[in-house]
């Protein structure tokens, strides 16, 4: 019965979002001068405006401040090296082919709409005015673009490399930069080079924008990380301390940078899937979802309801798993030793289910373009049911142990506070945004993969402090259990994979019937599918906030450019804003409450 309703109500969110995008384009055409920009009609529901370096700041300011229901958040900022692109997709007519484009993506939480702004640049004038005055989180994004593409931002307060070492030569995401070590001469490390590299690592406060003494005291500089028990990976914060009070803090990232975006340009569409698993390595298949959704949107693949429901169920299982790790380490970072052990036991049970279904545990890489890798195994429902019966009692126990603990409340209440406006300014999404009282969840606002058919609440809190961020996540575990229960009770029947030709790997059944399907099967399995020319981006509500893969296809078997927008990147950038003036122990609580993994930051 449920499967019937599902087929009837077969949602086409993509289409709805494209309509919303068109409506917005019509509105902006009516109200604003189009000397600023030109419009491009995009397939992915992101209205796209093209503008020039001279107009970009005015346009951004207009969109942020002057229109009703403004675009308050800088969702993403990146660039594309256009020099080797064969197909001119989407460029407004009459414009010259650019060498690079800088792409701004904005989000309006009031319109539930994302918007993309593109600025073409030529190789001999690679600079743009900085948007840091409009959005504080533009700071790191612009540094990243400078580091990886060599595009300068005028007026940026601190334009230094952010991912690569400061001694790095070249800009890695340019098409002329090598992707593999085998493409260049063997690596050597002479003594002089080693000395030079060592010297480059020396800490000089003024390079980080910090003074070494104040009015009446010398400051102490403490290098917290990159190797420290509670920075959750290789993350470094340079602290300027007066006693134990933090005067200033400067987060430093890039120690976990593996060039996932560059790798995407070398991997077939399908074979890139396992790399996505390792972006937010606690999120498992949740990482596959934005990638496959973007590709399916690009290729126009309709995913069967059973596959969608399986995806939702698996994604929610991983949301619980990720939140459990957060919950345990949060308690541990304020000094409570035991909860993390109990929560890892629950997580182990979850991994048991994941293993039974996918064969993998942390990184199953199990979603496929057009569906999932296999159908659900026999007995999956019993395992999931057992977990659903088991988990609520455990959560109640943890609530008494952690959330109701007075000492923990004293450590985390009123610490690391920001309000909704600040959160939007800094690009905070996910539970960190909802903890400020805004009930904005992408699964409700722009449902995907069939989320519109599930009943669940969007938990919020009002304080915007460390404690509230934890409370929101704990409640999200309960809501995820509700969603999983609905998946379990109403799992549709039918295929677990689309029969669209670009589904990868293609269905085997019909291969032996005629030569065409056999060839197609062979080609799609060996080279991988050829995606149509276009651009596609599909944000999802991942475990830690909004995650999306902005995919540029030039009509080949690999991606031309894959941009991974992760939630943790802007979240870390906010640390100085919320921790200056507090004590070192508070910083640890703040870091714990942000819930990041460094792979999700550095990619």
């Amino acid at each position: 019965m449920q499967s019937d309703t599902l087929t009837r109500k077969q949602p086409l969110p993509t289409k709805t979002y494209a309509l919303a995008a068109r409506a917005f384009l019509a509105e902006i055409r009516r109200n604003a001068n189009d000397a600023w920009y030109q419009l491009q009609d995009c397939a992915d529901g992101f209205p796209t405006l093209w503008t020039t370096p001279g107009n970009v700041i005015a346009l951004l300011r207009y969109l942020k401040h002057k229109i009703p229901h403004p675009f308050a958040m800088l969702y993403d900022l990146t660039a594309i090296d256009e020099r080797l692109r064969i197909n001119d997709y989407g460029r407004p007519q009459g414009t010259q082919k650019p060498d690079f484009t800088v792409v701004y993506q904005l989000l309006s939480v009031e319109r539930d709409l994302f918007i993309r702004i593109k600025v073409p640049l030529t190789e001999n004038a690679l600079s743009l005015p900085s948007a840091t005055a409009l959005w504080p989180n533009a700071n790191w994004y612009e540094r990243e673009v400078w580091d990886l593409f060599g595009i300068a931002f005028d007026g940026h307060p601190h334009l230094r490399r952010i991912m690569m070492p400061h001694t790095w030569k070249g800009h890695p995401l340019r098409k002329d930069h090598h992707a593999r070590a085998t493409e260049v001469d063997p690596f050597t490390l002479s003594d002089e080079k080693q000395d030079r590299e060592q010297e480059a690592l020396r800490f000089r406060p003024e390079e980080w924008g910090m003074a070494d003494h104040g009015e009446d005291s010398d400051y102490m500089f403490l290098n917290l990380g990159p190797n420290h028990p509670s920075v959750h990976g290789v993350f470094r914060v340079a602290l300027q301390l007066d006693g134990e009070q933090i005067i200033d803090s400067v987060p430093d990232i890039g120690y976990h940078h593996r060039g996932a975006e560059k790798m995407a340009e070398r991997q077939a569409w399908h074979s890139y899937m396992p790399y996505t698993d390792r972006i937010d390595y606690l999120g498992g298949v949740m990482n596959n979802l934005p990638y496959v959704l973007a590709l399916e949107q690009l290729a126009g693949i309709k995913v069967p309801p059973r596959a969608q429901t399986i995806r939702v169920m698996m994604a929610e299982l991983f949301r619980i798993s990720s939140h459990l790790v957060f919950y345990g380490t949060f308690a541990q970072d304020v000094g409570q030793m035991s909860p993390v052990f109990y929560m890892f036991i629950d997580r182990e049970k979850l991994f048991g289910i994941v293993e039974a279904i996918t064969g993998g545990r942390m990184h199953p890489a199990w979603f496929r373009i057009g569906g999932v890798a296999q159908d659900l195994p026999e007995g999956w429902d019993r395992m999931v049911r057992e977990f659903l019966d088991y988990m609520p009692a455990r959560l109640a126990e943890y609530e008494g142990m952690v959330l109701k603990n007075k000492l923990l409340q004293k450590r985390t209440r009123g610490i690391g506070v920001y309000n909704t406006a600040e959160a939007l300014d800094w690009g905070i999404t996910g539970p960190g945004l909802r903890a400020t009282g805004l009930d904005w969840d992408l699964r409700k606002r722009r449902p995907y993969s069939g989320y519109e058919q599930f009943e669940f609440d969007v938990p919020t809190a009002n304080g915007g402090d460390c404690f509230d961020r934890c409370v929101v996540r704990v409640e999200e575990i309960r809501q995820s259990l509700r969603i999983i229960e609905q998946c379990l009770n109403n799992m549709p029947s039918g295929p677990y994979k689309s029969d669209h030709p670009l589904t990868t790997p293609p269905a085997k059944e019909r291969t032996m019937e005629d030569i065409e399907t056999l060839i197609q099967h062979f080609v799609n399995n060996s080279w991988g599918p050829v995606m149509p020319v276009g651009e596609s981006c599909f944000p999802i509500e991942a475990t830690k906030g909004l995650n999306s893969y902005h995919i540029v296809s030039d009509g080949g078997t690999t991606s031309y450019r894959t941009r991974i927008r992760t939630p943790s990147f802007p979240h870390l950038q906010m640390i100085p804003h919320i921790s200056n003036g507090l004590m070192v122990a508070d910083l640890i609580a703040i870091i714990a409450s942000i819930d990041f993994v460094m792979a999700d930051v550095d990619r």
Binding site: M220, D333, V334, G335, M337, L407, M583, A585
Partner: protein, 320 residues
């Protein structure tokens, strides 16, 4: 003269040696016991591979610590760096000297036994402070500073909280304090003193709710960040020694020491002390760590008034 004292010297030596050896052995065993207990409470096995129930884990750890490179950083203040871990061991072992374990068992029967204990516990602070200073490491320095502030503050309440017991017993002699409890344990009339002493004792031995000097989540390992090998081992065992010493002292002062029916006195003392040690471990498993300024606030704004009021009330009742 000498001939008469000869056997008693031997007996004394045996007594002293036995008690100190037992203390060190129990402390070493506690490194295993704590991990097993934590494992039990945290739904995991804990060390259970070496020997029966993993008991030989202690030996394995000792061997490891002895053969590990005993690294002394070049930038350290080397003499102080080497001196620091020994202080805690010596101070704590000296503290055991005044502990009356059972009638006839105990190293020395000092008239100022309680003061001697306080003196030794205040000496033990140097271990942490100097360790923090000599490492010449910022995390260690912060740990040392926290230790200095925390221990000096909590020593105040520790001393005041004991004065109620001293008033009731009328002596500083620990053995006489135990005997004075034949009519009833002091935990009842001196309940607040007991609470304050318990909390201050945890703070003095810097165990988990009050382990700010090492606070691994903030200061990596605090004062012993740079220590390795047997020097680290001494800090480690010193901490367990202080746990046992504080437990033994609470037993003596508030729980009637060796007093108890049916069982031999020694058994009673050991049982009571053991229960307290287990309580210390349970605390570590259960409670998060307060922030440094919260700890100080708690000390000066809660512990100090409570211990002073307890002192005044006790004095008033005794005089009336």
């Amino acid at each position: 003269m000498e001939a008469v004292t000869e056997p008693s010297v031997l007996a004394t030596l045996l007594n002293i040696g036995g008690i100190l050896l037992a203390a060190v052995i129990f402390a070493a065993l506690l490194t295993w016991g704590e991990r097993r207990l934590l494992g039990f409470w945290q739904d995991r096995p804990g060390p259970n591979r070496v020997g029966p129930f993993g008991l030989l884990q202690v030996v394995a750890d000792m061997i490891k610590l002895f053969f590990k490179e005993d690294f002394v950083p070049k930038f350290a203040d080397i003499p102080v760096f080497i001196l620091a871990p020994t202080i805690v061991m010596i101070a704590m072992l000296m503290g055991f000297a005044v502990l009356p374990i059972a009638p006839g068992i105990g190293v020395i029967d000092l008239n100022i036994g309680l003061l001697f204990f306080l003196a030794m516990s205040s000496m033990a602070v140097y271990s942490v402070i100097l360790g923090g200073y000599a490492s010449n490491n910022k995390y260690a320095l912060l740990g040392g500073l926290r230790a200095a502030a925390q221990t000096v503050s909590y020593e105040v309440f520790m001393g005041i909280s004991l004065m109620g017991v001293v008033m009731m017993a009328g002596t500083f002699n620990l053995r006489e304090i135990v005997l004075a409890q034949e009519g009833g344990w002091y935990i009842v009339p001196q309940f607040f003193g007991f609470l304050v002493f318990l909390v201050a004792g945890i703070a003095e031995s810097h165990r988990l709710p009050f382990d700010l000097p090492e606070a691994e989540h903030e200061l990596t390992a605090g004062f012993h960040t740079e220590y390795s090998g047997m020097k680290f081992g001494m800090f480690f065992v010193g901490e367990y020694l202080s746990v046992i010493l504080i437990s033994g002292l609470i037993t003596t002062l508030f729980l009637g020491g060796w007093l108890g029916p049916w069982l031999p006195p020694l058994a009673w003392f050991l049982i009571k002390t053991f229960v307290l040690v287990v309580f210390f471990v349970l605390l570590r498993a259960a409670i998060p760590r307060p922030r440094y300024d919260q700890l100080m606030d708690f000390g000066w704004k809660v512990m100090l008034p409570v211990s002073l009021i307890n002192l005044l009330a006790t004095a008033a009742i005794l005089i009336s």
